[in-house]
């Protein structure tokens, strides 16, 4: 598994930063320079280089704001995923330094320095590439979407969260359990999926301190005005995140968090138990199921579970590649159907408002289209099945002994069971 992402200044061709994933040497500068050169030469001919494919690799170029070029090389993943990753990386840059800094770009060295604090975030983003490699620490990331955890206590936590945001006078707040969103305010969900994702990752990256108070820019909502992103750790593995203006101070926020959650400690304790199953124990699934991925494409959130069986005795390590299979299945087979759908919604998957506007138009288009509703894979070792029902997509990983024709029914049943539970706040 190999992946490189590097950023080059469009005008001067000077490198800004470079990240890699996998056990490989850094790319020599000459190669980076040539890759950028090809893109630059194309620009002079009024052609825009998009991507190149070799047998196993994909190379993608993307220029942002006429200022920076992001170039990504990755093995084993589709070009769509790599492209989305480049977008995410750019949003991460905006999140860290703001769009103005990138646009003006007076001093490359300063830019480099400022972006350094974003490296952990970017490295985390790289984990969302599916490379089918076992030596991956984070199997569960899906590009452009944030991970959730479906605790049965979520609706209770939601009530606590509501009272908390009144105290801190901010609309934007969420609770993370193991870095996965348990519950969030309505305004939090109104942020762009990319923003939600980046904030969730930011909260858990470099997690050495109990609290964080970082100035950030929201790539869509406010790319040039900074917000404060504050996280407090309520319990180990439980964080409360919020976006605030200059006030209140960190101390006050910590205090409010204490006040709101101190008496509900047992709720939080039991909520943490849901990890690593990630969905309620009470929700039982068929014995043939060895992995679940539930996605809501319009909200940009997903839940992934690698051990849906209650009495899992197997080692977790051996089952983590299941997540990789599910994710690859999602990237290759499901997004093949879903992307198609989005294309007709003005091609803009990230801008929800435009999408809503286009909804009527979209429905009109629908007449000419047909939508994929289900898709499945049968491999030697396992089977995957996905059911698309409006915004919800459930991908299920079965063991290979399950009959192909029964997958449909089981998936339907499982999806119903998962989304009918109102307590989990899906």
């Amino acid at each position: 598994m190999v992946a490189y992402i590097f950023c080059v200044d469009s005008n001067s061709g000077l490198p800004i930063f470079s990240r890699k994933k996998g056990n490989v040497d850094n790319l020599p500068f000459s190669i980076k320079g040539s890759l950028n050169g090809a893109h630059m030469y194309g620009k002079s001919l009024k052609l825009q280089l998009l991507h190149s494919l070799t047998e196993d690799y994909c190379v993608s170029w993307k220029e942002f704001e006429d200022r920076v070029v992001l170039i990504g090389i990755s093995s084993g993943c589709t070009q769509n995923v790599l492209n989305s990753l480049l977008n995410s990386i750019f949003y991460a840059m905006v999140l860290i330094i703001g769009i103005d800094e990138i646009r003006s770009q007076r001093n490359i060295d300063r830019l480099k320095r400022e972006l350094k604090i974003g490296y952990p975030l970017m490295d985390r983003l790289l984990d969302s590439l599916d490379c089918g490699n076992v030596h991956n620490t984070h199997f569960s990331d899906i590009v452009g979407m944030s991970e959730c955890i479906l605790c049965p206590e979520n609706h209770l936590i939601q009530i606590l969260l509501e009272s908390f945001i009144e105290c801190i006078d901010s609309m934007y707040s969420c609770i993370l359990i193991h870095g996965k969103i348990a519950t969030a305010t309505e305004s939090w969900w109104s942020l762009d999926p990319e923003e939600i994702k980046l904030l969730s990752l930011l909260a858990v990256s470099e997690n050495s301190t109990i609290t964080k108070d970082i100035p950030i820019f929201l790539p869509f909502k406010s790319p040039s005005v900074a917000f404060r992103f504050v996280t407090c750790t309520l319990k180990p593995d439980i964080q409360i995140c919020s976006l605030c203006g200059p006030t209140p101070s960190l101390i006050e926020i910590e205090h409010s968090a204490m006040q709101c959650f101190i008496f509900s400690s047992d709720i939080l304790t039991s909520a943490v138990q849901t990890h690593p199953r990630n969905f309620p124990l009470l929700c039982q699934v068929d014995g043939g199921i060895i992995g679940l991925l539930l996605v809501n494409i319009s909200a940009g959130k997903f839940m992934i579970s690698k051990n849906p069986q209650q009495n899992t005795t197997k080692k977790l390590a051996s089952s983590s590649h299941r997540l990789d299979i599910l994710r690859t299945f999602y990237y290759q087979a499901v997004s093949f159907l879903v992307n198609d759908r989005n294309k007709h919604g003005n091609g803009n998957t990230t801008n929800k408002k435009i999408e809503k506007k286009n909804k009527n138009q979209k429905e009109h288009c629908n007449l000419d289209l047909n939508f994929g509703k289900e898709t499945y894979w049968c491999s030697e070792y396992h089977k995957c099945h996905a059911l698309i029902s409006n915004d919800n997509i459930l991908c299920v990983l079965y063991n290979s002994s399950i009959p192909t024709y029964s997958m449909r029914l089981i998936t339907q049943k499982t999806l119903r069971a998962l989304i009918s539970d109102k307590q989990v706040c899906w």
């Binding site: 047998e55 490699n133 087979a333 491999s379 192909t404």
Partner: protein
């Protein structure tokens, strides 16, 4: 064994007189001496022989194209009679060889005058450019009725009339059957009909003139030969004005027109570039490394201007990823385009096409196909691009004209206004697989075909020569293949070569030609380099140092393709050999024989009857399901009966399947969701499936009365025995017409293998791709105009591209050595996928209330490994219960394993 010969004899006996008169006719032609002793005349295509390479591309169409007086029937007779004479003439083969020598001699010595000579002698009455005027007395048939004729003259004189290219002058376009005019040597198709009884005629006045004349018994018709010898350097061909523009485009190359076309092409983001990657030198002139470029001029060619990018990437990505670059996507003024790479040691071939014509997967296949075609015809791309630049221009101008017209072959080099008006091309799947669409005929027909082809390949001429020959043959046949309307009927070629031939025919437009134009005679002759003789990685045996030639003969919708080898066991190969008339005649006779047998009719019928002609039913699946199950529950009655009928057919269809050599996927169901019938059915089919004795089947009560009609196997079995007997019986006990009669009547009730039967069509499409055999089985093109159908097929193809792409991972991984596996950076989740399915839901668009009705359908691809890798793709209605599908797949598998 020697059926063709016998048949020839039979035929000739009937037509001897005619033939003799024909011979006399020819023999008093003023032609040079060495032809007079040979019994056959100079072949029509002789003037099409390329002086330099010996290649031939000769196309003659019905009814527009001229030159030859013989119509179909006559042509066949001629072929057969030649054989007859050949048989009676002693040492014909020797003579043939002698003739070849002398011909060669003539070529060397009077090369300059030869073509002229041919022209003057070829058509006896022809003057130089203008052509001679002739007057012919024709009888008027007054009793003729006039149905569907354009002109009154047609039934009266027995001549079909159309206009010459100016739209006013009249031309003889053909003859009605049994007309006297047909046998009149002075009237040739393509002649300008000048006057009748001294009255000048044209398009406007012909009917009026003829009304006056209709009372007469005889008329004097004045005709003039139209000069049409258009011998150009590349490929010289007899083009007449009346030729269809596609044929003209195919056969002639107008460099001036092409230049304009290229200029226009330059504004589109497309092109071909062949680069020398070694010639990278900073100091060198800008385009030094460009070996070939289309469209020209290079300065305006978008691909050529940007070549630096592709050269860099090709080199760079190889360094980074250790694998060659396949594709680059870019956008040109917001138009998405793709560039496909193909690397040959130090050369690089680039092809750029806009995305609305070719999706990334498609362009990769296209460039591979083009390369395959070029390697087949020119051995290496270097030879093609360096030495045959004009041919390359011709090939690519045709190709790009097709691209710009949304994948439709066009006769004219017309171009849309701008990039946005290029008609988008729908997803392509089947056409880009390296395999040949095949139709299967009943066994009895196959036996006849194979028999004829084998005989052709055997080159066993003992029977025709009473004395043993003491000379070597000129060619050995490596194999042959028969196509009808673009579909393969039978092949004796090595699969790789078959794919080569198919690529060649596809990109040279020959397949299109045979599908669309009423071909009269097609002869293609070319030196080729088949894959099987080119790339022997592990030389198990030493290939003879020989040359191979491709010979395609065609009439109507049929093509007979032969690959021949000169060298090795034959006479040493000759440099740039022209086709030998003897072998061309042989092939033509074989084809004529097959046509005589009624093979084209049979194939045509099988194409017609296939599922491509059934519309997708309108009702939603659910509704239907309920309907049917209600019916099933009603105890007795008509509906029940009809179901039972369906049932019978289904059983047969399963059986047919099982007895069929090229396995296809079967969907045995209609709305077989009906529980009870389904049970019965599956039992039946299984029990029958197990008993492989075919004779048992007819006894099966289920077959009932219908058995004789629908049990294809039964008739196959009997028939094939008959067929074998027939061909083995030595003497004239079997007349060809009898065989034809028998073949057609016996198969009249035989349905093509129908996979889904029942009242409504539930199987929308299927493709079986067999890379090893190079065979693709799929229903023929859809002729029903239906939006729903279009959408279904389009999503099928799109989905199949994706599925096929994923399967390649599995196939690749299977072939990988364990060392490579460890090193490979493949996504390990993708290495063992063997089935991939997707369900789509689409509104039914063929009715007004389209919003309410929806159809759901599955697109499923499965990969089979035994006995060899095959991919099967099907598209069927969601209403079919999955367990039936499983059953169908299982049976297919079971068949293959056994």
């Amino acid at each position: 064994m020697n059926e063709t010969g016998q048949i020839g004899k039979n035929y000739v006996r009937r037509n001897d007189d005619e033939q003799l008169s024909g011979e006399e006719d020819w023999s008093d032609s003023s032609y040079s001496s060495y032809y007079t002793d040979s019994d056959s005349s100079i072949p029509d295509w002789d003037s099409s022989v390329d002086e330099r390479t010996g290649e031939v591309l000769y196309i003659e169409c019905h009814p527009f194209v001229t030159h030859n007086i013989k119509d179909d029937k006559n042509e066949k007779e001629k072929c057969f009679s030649r054989k007859q004479t050949r048989r009676s003439t002693r040492g014909k083969f020797l003579r043939l060889l002698r003739r070849r020598d002398s011909k060669r001699y003539s070529k060397q010595n009077i090369k300059m005058s030869e073509s002229e000579l041919h022209n003057t002698n070829k058509v006896k009455f022809q003057d130089f450019q203008e052509g001679e005027e002739r007057e012919v007395l024709l009888k008027v048939k007054n009793e003729a009725t006039q149905r569907g004729h354009n002109f009154l003259i047609e039934p009266l004189l027995g001549i079909n009339i159309s206009t010459l290219s100016d739209g006013i002058r009249l031309m003889v376009a053909g003859f009605l059957p049994d007309s006297d005019a047909k046998y009149e040597k002075n009237i040739k198709i393509g002649d300008w009909l000048k006057s009748i009884d001294g009255i000048e005629v044209n398009f406007q006045n012909i009917n009026a003139v003829f009304q006056q004349l209709s009372s007469k018994n005889e008329v004097l018709v004045k005709l003039q030969r139209v000069a049409g010898m258009d011998v150009t350097k590349d490929p010289p061909i007899n083009v007449l004005n009346s030729q269809s523009s596609f044929v003209r485009k195919l056969t002639s190359f107008n460099s001036e027109e092409d230049e304009q076309f290229q200029e226009l092409l330059c504004k589109f983001p497309l092109g071909v570039l062949y680069l020398d990657t070694d010639a990278l030198d900073e100091m060198a002139p800008e385009y030094q490394d460009v070996i070939y470029c289309y469209p020209k001029p290079m300065q305006k060619n978008k691909l050529c201007n940007a070549k630096g990018i592709f050269l860099t990437l090709n080199h760079l990505l190889q360094d980074i990823t250790k694998s060659p670059t396949k594709l680059t996507s870019l956008s040109f003024n917001n138009v998405l385009c793709h560039v496909a790479y193909l690397k040959f040691e130090k050369k690089l071939l680039l092809l750029m096409l806009p995305d609305n014509y070719a999706k990334p997967v498609e362009i990769e296949s296209i460039v591979k196909e083009i390369c395959r075609m070029l390697e087949f015809t020119y051995n290496t791309l270097d030879v093609f691009f360096m030495d045959n630049a004009q041919k390359a221009d011709h090939t690519f101008s045709m190709f790009f004209a097709k691209v710009l017209n949304g994948g439709v072959w066009t006769g004219k080099l017309k171009i849309p206004e701008d990039i946005s008006s290029i008609p988008p091309n729908d997803y392509v799947f089947e056409d880009l697989l390296l395999a040949i669409p095949t139709i299967e005929l009943p066994n009895e027909a196959m036996i006849q075909i194979e028999d004829a082809m084998t005989e052709l390949e055997a080159c066993d001429y003992r029977e025709w020569n009473e004395e043993p020959l003491d000379c070597q043959r000129i060619f050995t046949m490596l194999g042959s293949a028969l196509f009808h309307s673009g579909y393969l009927l039978a092949s004796h070629l090595i699969p790789d070569d078959l794919v080569d031939v198919n690529c060649f025919c596809k990109y040279q437009g020959i397949l299109h030609l045979s599908k669309t134009e009423p071909l009269k005679t097609l002869i293609v002759w070319k030196e080729v380099f088949p894959t099987s003789c080119r790339s022997l990685n592990v030389p198990i045996f030493k290939l003879p140092d020989a040359r191979r030639y491709l010979l395609i003969v065609g009439t109507g919708k049929d093509l007979l393709i032969v690959i021949m080898e000169a060298g090795g066991s034959t006479e040493p190969p000759e440099e740039n050999a022209a086709p030998d008339p003897f072998y061309v005649e042989e092939a033509q006779a074989t084809l004529a024989h097959l046509q005589e047998l009624g093979i084209p009719e049979l194939a045509g019928r099988f194409l017609e009857l296939n599922i491509g002609h059934q519309p997708i039913p309108s009702t939603t699946s659910n509704k239907k399901k309920i309907d049917v199950s209600n019916l099933a529950k009603s105890p007795q009655g008509q509906s029940r009966d009809s179901l039972a009928l369906n049932k019978k057919q289904e059983v047969t269809s399963i059986l047919k399947r099982r007895n069929n050599d090229h396995a296809q996927t079967v969907y045995t169901s209609t709305y077989a969701s009906v529980e009870d019938t389904y049970d019965v059915r599956s039992e039946d089919s299984e029990s029958q499936g197990c008993g492989s004795e075919k004779s048992e089947l007819s006894d099966d009560p289920i077959m009932g009365k219908k058995a004789e009609n629908i049990n294809i196997y039964e008739s196959d079995n009997e028939e094939s025995e008959n067929g074998v007997d027939g061909s083995q019986m030595s003497n004239n006990s079997f007349d060809i017409s009898e065989i034809k009669q028998m073949l057609l009547t016996e198969t009249a009730d035989v349905q093509p293998i129908q996979i889904a039967t029942g009242a409504a069509n539930v199987l929308y499409h299927y493709v079986q791709f067999d890379a090893l055999e190079g065979i693709l089985i799929s229903p023929p093109e859809y002729k029903v105009e239906s939006r729903t159908q279009k959408i279904v097929i389009s999503s099928f193809r799109k989905c199949c591209q994706q599925i096929h792409g994923l399967f390649q991972n599995t196939i690749r991984f299977k072939d990988m050595s364990s060392q490579d596996m460890a090193k490979s950076v493949m996504n390990k989740s993708l290495i063992a996928i063997k089935e991939y399915g997707t369900m789509f839901e689409c509104p039914f668009l063929d009715e007004k209330e389209s919003k309410k009705n929806k159809i759901s359908f599955w697109v499923i691809g499965r990969l089979f490994f035994s006995p060899h890798v095959r991919e099967v793709y099907v598209c069927y209605n969601d209403a079919i219960p999955q367990n039936l599908i499983e059953l169908a797949f299982k049976m297919n598998m079971g068949f293959c394993d056994s």
